[in-house]
Symmetry: C2
Subunit: 340 residues, 2 copies
Amino acid sequence: MVTIYDIAKLANVSAMTVSRVINNTGKISDKTRAKVKKVMEELHYVPNSMARSLVLQETKMLSLLITDITNPFYTTLARGAEDAAMKRGYKLLFSNSDEDVAKESEYVDMVLSTRVDGVLFAPAGDDSLSHLEKLRKHGIPFVLIDREVPGMESDTVLGDSKEGARKLVEHLIGLGHRRIALLNGSLDVSTARHRYTGYKEALKLSDIPFDDELIAESAYSRSSPNRTIEAIERLLQLPERPTALFAANNFLAIEAIRAMRDRGIRVPDDMSVVCFDDLDLASVIDPFLTVAAQPAYQFGTIGVQLLLDRIQETDGAEWRKIILPSEMIVRKSVQPFAEL
Amino acid sequence: MVTIYDIAKLANVSAMTVSRVINNTGKISDKTRAKVKKVMEELHYVPNSMARSLVLQETKMLSLLITDITNPFYTTLARGAEDAAMKRGYKLLFSNSDEDVAKESEYVDMVLSTRVDGVLFAPAGDDSLSHLEKLRKHGIPFVLIDREVPGMESDTVLGDSKEGARKLVEHLIGLGHRRIALLNGSLDVSTARHRYTGYKEALKLSDIPFDDELIAESAYSRSSPNRTIEAIERLLQLPERPTALFAANNFLAIEAIRAMRDRGIRVPDDMSVVCFDDLDLASVIDPFLTVAAQPAYQFGTIGVQLLLDRIQETDGAEWRKIILPSEMIVRKSVQPFAEL
DNA sequence: CTGTTAGCGCGTTCAA
DNA sequence: TTGAACGCGCTAACAG
């Protein structure tokens, strides 16, 4: 591996001069600069960022910890984060916690030892608190994205889960539905709680009694579809069957639709379905699901922005909390409720 | 930041002893080991992997360079790669070239300066050759995934593009179609060429004359849908309009279907459509597109496997080339051709 | 079993 | 405008 010393020797200067040429610091005569640059090119020199990090105490790397790399919401977010980071000269280290707090723990240790300059963190659940405390204790700046964690203040980028949920459910109510089921993610995740709240608010505003039996809890990720299937089975066997379903995210909606189809329930004819997060590709080819679409790309860019601001901050500024609105897109998965 | 020296001082041992405890090397008495471990925990010590990399000359990081992080084929591949890397103690640095050879160049420089131990490389096109030569010159092992580059030998994981294409087109032919258009990606990409070849082979086997007018070239990524739209318009205006379309990847199929829909052409009634790569989510909710599905996850795991084998190889073993079959999944986007 | 020395590649500090 | 010495945090090699 060629180092600045190799360059220095061939250019008849000191290593320090080479370093100055690389970083454009100090005063260097044009002549020696040209000479050094020439040698650098001849030797195909590439600076060693490890060594530089060690002395500079910064890596120019950010870590993005998401819970599911196959979910289009997160991939679009990742893309936004990457574009923003790249633009500011930072690399992005992706990690995938699989909605699993234990796996998340391993990643936090990795992040710590890699000495990244900051972390974009989509917590797997409220138990992520200890991981965040660990980061904080080590002085690593982080921004929470998509989800917040009780007991931990920080810069945060969230969606308007409550409002989005309320709008979706109100849409169903407006079409005459009164038995509306909620297929939620784990209540251990803040967005699930907020969407739950929005659901209840919508009912209340229309004087529809809340029925606990209509609530089912599964998991956001696709790793365990069984809980979703069981939930759907229970809902379908209810004496007074729901006529509409609000799924708390895209994967839940899909698994639910699949489970219902397998049981002969058609959407939207037998059951209207709405959900949070759009499906990207799927929506183009077949504009089917009525959704509350979130500006996923902006989650990423804004998250990086907050993070880099925090990193460059000298005095501890106030925590910033950005709430991004979602947009309801009405499509075909919903039908008016027709009394029999 | 806590260092091994801090630990050493508090534990009344030398830094070297601490290092040995951390790495489980050498012989250490249980007593001192316990003492050191206790201090490490008290101080929340986390090893600095930068420093370690510097001396060990290895980073335990791999870089995954893909061309589109929003394409489900690549995200699933990424997931496979990450799982495999993680399992072997490696981190994965993702990058996204956007099918852009220039952007790719920046990433290669980044990769070089980060001193990753190896690269999983999905080249943006044949011009990626110079980037690969750069990696090779610097002695960084890499594995080509999904695409190969003329003039560069290396370990490679490919799909059976030719066979997959042939099967898809034969399926269309079997249904009576004879005017079959090909909407291809850039011929600068090996998979596009192979799919082209498979297309032609299928025609030849059925004695259907090849018609150059039925061939359109666009781009795999969604960044420039205009070329696809123009291509579709041209195909639709052909004197003898095609009755079926083979799109060389999922995004092309989607853009094509959208463009046709906008022009009043229904799929499959007016036009049958098949393509390479499945759509994941979209297929669950609405099993629509007939596709040649590739084992994306395996692309990732096998790629990492080849890469790590190569990294640990002492003597230069033969290049290995793994070809993964694709599976044709027949769905609703295809109809038999009915002569008028 | 444990410690000392040296150096990985680079940038800061100070001197020339 | 340039260079020498030092240290970032760690481990290999050798010594004890």
